[in-house]
């Protein structure tokens, strides 16, 4: 069993920030050594090895600490390209209630905390198809990220009291508050990488989608071209944590981010996992963006 060091959770700065962090680390150590049901199964947390049951809490700690500066950091790190990725993702999905159909669509955006994909989807549906009846459920395991999304929701035009948009704190691997066969579109952007059990997340996606429903995943992936890969890795391992340190005062969370990108399965392997969950994956099943830095994976539940 490996020990969790304080560097696995963000280091604190200034006065008094350390108090919240130390008890968490001590508590995790206490639990894992005295719990008789400890299965001792380990998984990766970036490049570190941690107990499977601890990964969720560690990831939760990371996202609670990045929540407030999330969008600023995304813009700084990707130099704005993440906006292009996300709008291409939304345009390609082209989701919305077509004129002449009798019911609106039910969207589910998982790990959608701050809500940019969710609002983008609704916006696209309304602008392109005049769809004002589709519903959107934003689910995120982290309440702090969800709170950021709710804050942003207050100023959007969907905050009109019509109950179209719901925010739920849900674990993407279980989705216990979402009934089977109830959603038409399941989207997850830059979230599935943080799941402890990615296959369970895909299986849950399969469960909640209606037949004919679409699973769409936008995630960081591996770059094929070795020359570009070298530049990309040098950039992500040296500059991104430095930006995290100077802009967000949190080097460790961004170090975790770049390490978790390396650990995520390659395009073909992830495509096989989607097929294993039961989805039909149309050839070729994924689209590389920016040389493979990000990839869109699609699956259809038949």
């Amino acid at each position: 069993m490996s020990l969790l060091t304080k560097s696995a959770i963000r280091s604190s700065s200034g006065y008094g920030c350390r108090i919240g962090v130390r008890p968490l680390v001590q508590q995790l150590r206490f639990n894992s050594s005295t719990n008789p049901n400890n299965s001792n199964e380990t998984t990766h947390f970036g490049f570190k090895t941690v107990n499977k049951e601890d990964k969720e809490k560690l990831v939760g700690g990371v996202f609670s600490s990045v929540a407030s500066k999330y969008d600023v950091m995304n813009d700084a790190m990707s130099m704005g390209v993440h906006r292009l990725w996300k709008s291409h993702f939304i345009n390609r999905l082209d989701a919305g209630m077509r004129p002449g159909s009798n019911r609106g669509l039910d969207f589910l955006d998982v790990a959608g905390g701050t809500g940019d994909i969710a609002f983008g989807l609704l916006d696209h549906a309304e602008r392109k198809f005049n769809d004002t009846s589709s519903t959107m459920t934003v689910a995120d395991i982290n309440a702090d990220m969800l709170r950021e999304g709710e804050k942003r929701f207050q100023s959007t035009r969907w905050n009109d009291g019509s109950d179209r948009v719901k925010f739920l704190v849900q674990n993407g691997e279980i989705l216990d508050q979402i009934p089977d066969n109830s959603k038409d579109v399941y989207t997850i952007a830059f979230g599935i990488r943080n799941f402890t059990d990615v296959q369970a997340g895909l299986n849950a996606a399969y469960r909640v989608l209606r037949p004919g429903g679409i699973f769409a995943c936008l995630e960081f992936s591996q770059v094929d071209n070795p020359a570009i890969d070298y530049i990309y890795q040098a950039y992500s391992f040296s500059l991104l944590p430095l930006m995290g340190q100077l802009i967000a005062d949190d080097r460790d969370s961004y170090q975790y981010l770049v390490e978790s990108i390396r650990k995520f399965p390659k395009q073909e392997e992830f495509k096989s996992m989607i097929e294993k969950a039961g989805f039909y994956v149309p050839e070729k099943g994924y689209e590389n963006l920016t040389f493979g830095v990000a990839a869109i994976h699609i699956g259809v539940k038949l």
């Binding site: 280091s11 604190s12 070795p226 040098a234 391992f237 100077l246």
Partner: protein, 317 residues
């Protein structure tokens, strides 16, 4: 004659021989090579290496698992060994950040660690090693944590003791002696400890000189530190930080506090060699006289007097 014939034949046959040798060598190489590197042999060695049947999977997984960017091993827990270009970038980024936002701790931390280059820390290490108390500090490596300084005990000490002055300064400024951020980017282990010690003693320098934590007070302490200890970050702060201040603040700094800081810093004994934890009961005036530190005029009172004067002037005018 025979010799001539032989010689003549020899010259011809030497040429012949070299040509023959060339031909023979080439033919031999080709023949043996084709035996050694025949298609079957090549495929057999590939199969031995495991490249023949698992060619697609093996190669792919090897390419992905080996990270192209690796760091050297850390020298102490929490150490992040940075490459030179990263330290440079951190220096540039944090100096811009700390100029515009000196209140944000992360910029000061990054600027300090990226500018505390090896030669300077080594000079400081030599200074410490030359003094018996400095050597004791390096041997025992005391760290100031929230538990190592018992505030209640310090409050009970006589008023003129160092510990009591420190605790009263903390109360007056409204801060607590929380642990300072651990050093992470300095490569040598002992130099990292020296920098950590410098960081943790900062509050004591404030307490001994009586300077508050407002920006003018911090700048003054930084100049004092720079003149005494020589950390580049404090020097940079002394040069650039006052540029953002108001005119009245600048006047006060340049006319009163800078001359005091330079004189006191240069004339006093090295502050890095003070074992603060052991002298908490010592009388502070004795300590100041021993070290050669003068106290500057009280900054908060000066500012209060200045603002009252302004108020009066506004009332009159």
């Amino acid at each position: 004659m025979i010799g001539n014939r032989i010689a003549s034949r020899g010259s011809l046959s030497v040429a012949n021989l070299s040509q023959t040798r060339q031909f023979v060598l080439t033919a031999a190489v080709t023949a043996i090579g084709s035996l050694l590197f025949s298609e079957n042999n090549r495929l057999a060695s590939k199969m031995e290496e495991g490249e023949l049947h698992n060619k697609f999977n093996e190669r792919r997984s090897n390419v992905v698992d080996k990270p192209l960017f690796t760091r050297p091993q850390p020298n102490y827990p929490g150490h992040i060994p940075l490459y030179t270009y990263e330290k440079l970038l951190m220096f540039v980024g944090s100096s811009i950040g700390s100029f515009f936002h000196p209140e944000r701790n992360e910029f000061i931390v990054a600027l300090g660690e990226s500018s505390a280059i090896s030669p300077i820390l080594r000079a400081l290490q030599r200074k410490m090693l030359a003094d018996p108390t400095g050597r004791q500090i390096l041997r025992e490596r005391p760290r100031m944590t929230s538990t190592s300084l018992d505030l209640e005990y310090l409050r009970q000490l006589p008023t003129n003791s160092i510990g009591n002055t420190y605790v009263r300064w903390l109360d007056r400024e409204g801060v607590s002696p929380d642990t300072r951020v651990p050093v992470r980017y300095i490569d040598d282990e002992e130099l990292a400890y020296i920098y950590q010690r410098y960081r943790e003693c900062h509050d004591f320098y404030h307490a001994v000189t009586g300077l508050p934590i407002i920006i003018e007070g911090e700048i003054s302490v930084k100049v004092f530190e720079f003149m005494n200890i020589g950390m580049p970050m404090s020097g940079l702060g002394a040069l650039f930080a006052p540029l953002r201040l108001k005119k009245s603040q600048k006047e006060r700094l340049y006319n009163i506090y800078y001359p005091w800081a330079v004189k006191s810093g240069l004339n006093s004994k090295p502050l890095i060699n003070v074992y603060w934890e052991n002298i908490l009961e010592q009388d502070i005036d004795e300590f100041r006289k021993e070290m050669g530190i003068e106290t500057p005029p009280d900054l908060r009172n000066l500012r209060k007097a200045y603002f009252e004067k302004l108020k009066k002037e506004k009332k009159i005018v």
